[in-house]
Amino acid sequence: MQALTVHTGLVAPMDRANVDTDMIIPKQFLKSIKRSGFGPNLFDEVRYQDEGQPGKDNSKRPLNPDFPLNQERYQGASILLTRENFGCGSSREHAPWALEDFGFRVLIAPSFADIFYNNCFKNGILPVVLPAEVVSELFENLYSQPGFELTADLEKQEMRTVDGRSWSFDVDSFRRHCLLNGLDDIGTTLQSADKIRAYEEKRQVEAPWLFAG
């Protein structure tokens, strides 16, 4: 996993609440057995005017001109600013895979859905929760200032604007540690293999039916 310490980037808007994982990456792309290549189909149903299919040449599809990611000013964006409950719905990790593949490293919202939030950290994406009024302020900045950039500093747990404003954000220390160092958490867990075995031995005595299969 790619580490993230301090990230500065162009901000793009997804100005809706309750953006669900079906909207982030529609189900037909979940037939893939790979974990890469989902970027061109990120937000497929609102980004294009026709129905996307695996294998279809996306460069020939009609774009929705009203969708921000299709607009010149947001090209190269790596930070997505959005509203409440982003990522609600299914557990599909294809959602953060698509965001990451498109080039997003940081997401900002007043709240995220639990499973999605967790999936982001497994894929080098930092989801930042900021108060709704701060998010609204950032949307105003974004719309009024072409080229609006933000800096997400995971070490200091701080979001900064170029003009010197800043907001601190919370992130739990284990997730922060893994993302700062790009750690494979399976490797970390396997360092506790003795504890897992000890638990199994104890549990086998207490609840033998759980180990019958």
Partner: protein, 501 residues
């Protein structure tokens, strides 16, 4: 014990929100069901606040597992405990008999075929048990698990599917996980977790005639919102919940995720224990007695403290219909689509406007006026035998409206299908004009050929009405099996309580 801390939450159904009370706690006392399940599975509590939680049962399906198996292989790792895993293909399988008869090779869509084949290969190479296509035990993972007794009270259960919350219905801690976590569980039999908060949704009183578990959970989501349970494990309690069968409780816990909660659960009672007796994977003999003794403790203590409590009056719940593009956009069948002017914030006004446009509805429109193109009875929410019986009892002797393009019944598993056929339910459906299909997720998420066309309205017993969920441009209305069945006969929604008498 509770400090009253009422606050106003926006709800789509403001009339009903008046019945909601929300309270915060001030004392430290007994343990909740979630606390007990957490403690029983704690392998290691780390200083940084994270914990290693042991996983008793891992359910696997074709869509969210291939990348996990590949990750395992690339790292040279093997499954930690093969017997804890159980697999079946459900999301991406065709449901027509014609396509299913030839097994995996019969799947026409080659991308889907490769995915189902990959699950088969991964299970064979690791030795993980799989109910393959053609096995009567194959079905939607969340129908198959409990049916087999492969998911049991007191277990921690995970699956790369958000509706894993279903299995909380029998006093288990069950959660959906992402593919990285699927790989993590395969490799370590553990999950890295932060403990969630405790929330109790208590539904007391008696449900009215025609009001089902589906209506209860849709109503709850309408009251607390789709993010109402975020960060919480929800326990559903109260007399109305415990009056439901285990299958009804599954319907409720299934949609906990639609209220934002990764886990939903119901405490164990006699109904729970009776349900599991004699199931193929359930403990037997001495082990059964030991298990039952342990399961009896899977209830929240009387003095348990919840971070949030929501109280719902069962008698006030009407049959529900979702009208919008989020499960919280729901109302009683006698209700109407909300008015833009009634929205309390600009974001919500825009959300309503977008939903109305997508759904092709007008503000203030009566729900009974929504004309339907298709009806879908199925999904991990409502495809069990009781659901099919409820729908069949409505359909019996009647005909599907000529205005519908299609009405599907997709049983949740091969065994549900077999049971329904033994009861003659398949005949009831097909004689009325429904199609009777092979088990799978089908039109709930439309990964296979079962999908809505652009602009089509569907009465669906599934769990999500997101834009495009059931097909590009498709319009989903979430309802109970009985409401879907009655809507199929009439071609539009009707109040099941008054209809057909």
């Amino acid at each position: 014990m509770y400090k009253k801390d009422e606050f106003v939450l926006f709800t789509w159904n403001s009339k009903l929100s008046a019945s909601r009370k929300q309270q915060g706690c001030i004392t430290v006392a007994g343990k909740t069901l979630y606390d007990k399940l957490w403690e029983a599975h704690l392998v290691d509590q780390r200083d940084d606040g994270s914990a290693l939680l042991y996983i008793d049962r891992h359910l696997i399906h074709e869509v969210t597992s291939p990348q996990a198996f590949e990750g395992l292989r690339l790292a040279g790792r093997k499954p930690w405990r093969i017997g804890a895993n159980l697999a079946t293909a459900d999301h991406n399988v065709p449901t027509t008999l014609l396509e299913r008869q030839a097994g995996i090779e019969g799947i026409r869509d080659e991308v889907s075929r490769l995915q189902v084949k990959t699950l088969d290969d991964n299970c064979s190479s690791t030795g993980i048990m799989e109910f393959g296509l053609g096995d009567e035990r194959q079905g939607i993972v969340h129908v198959m698990g409990p049916e087999q007794g492969a998911t049991l009270p007191g277990m921690t259960i995970v699956c790369g599917d958000s509706h894993t919350s279903t299995h909380g219905a029998f006093g288990a801690l069950a959660m959906g996980i992402g593919t990285s976590e699927v790989e993590h569980v395969l490799a370590t039999q553990c999950l890295i977790q932060q403990k969630m908060k405790n929330m109790l949704v208590r539904v007391d009183g008696e449900l009215g005639p025609g009001v089902t578990a589906k209506d209860v959970v849709l109503h709850i989501i309408g009251v607390i919102g789709t993010a109402g349970g975020t960060g919480h494990a929800i326990e559903f309690g109260g007399t109305a919940i415990h009056s439901l069968s285990v299958e009804g409780r599954m319907t409720i816990c299934n949609m906990a995720i639609e209220a934002g909660a990764r886990a939903g659960m119901v405490s164990v009672d006699d109904t729970t224990i009776d349900y599991f007796h004699g199931r193929p994977f359930a403990p037997r003999g001495e082990h059964w007695d030991l298990a039952v003794q342990a399961w009896r403790d899977l209830v929240s203590d009387d003095d348990a403290v919840f971070d949030r409590v929501v109280e719902i009056d069962a008698a006030a719940i009407e049959p529900q219909v979702s009208w919008g593009t989020s499960p919280e956009m729901v109302a009683g069948i006698r209700g109407r689509v909300p008015m833009l002017a009634d929205m309390p914030s600009e974001t919500q006004r825009q959300g309503l406007q977008r939903a109305l446009q997508y759904m092709g509805l007008k503000e203030g429109q009566a729900l009974t006026d929504i004309r339907l193109d298709r009806v879908f009875i199925g999904s991990c929410t409502n495809s069990r035998i009781e659901d099919l019986r409820a729908a069949a009892s409505v359909v019996k002797g009647r005909k599907v409206s000529g205005s519908l393009k299609e009405a599907l019944v997709v049983p949740g598993s091969g065994l549900v299908k077999k049971q329904a056929e033994q009861e003659g339910l398949d005949k009831v459906f097909t004689e009325a004009g429904f199609q009777w299909r092979e088990p799978g997720c089908s039109m709930c998420l439309a990964m296979n050929a079962d999908k809505l066309g652009q602009g089509e309205h569907c009465a669906s017993t599934s769990n999500r009405n997101f834009e495009g969920r059931q097909g590009f441009g498709g319009r989903t209305h979430l309802v109970s099996p009985a409401m879907a069945a009655a809507a199929a006969i009439e071609g539009h929604f009707v109040d099941i309580r008054e209809w057909g008498n």
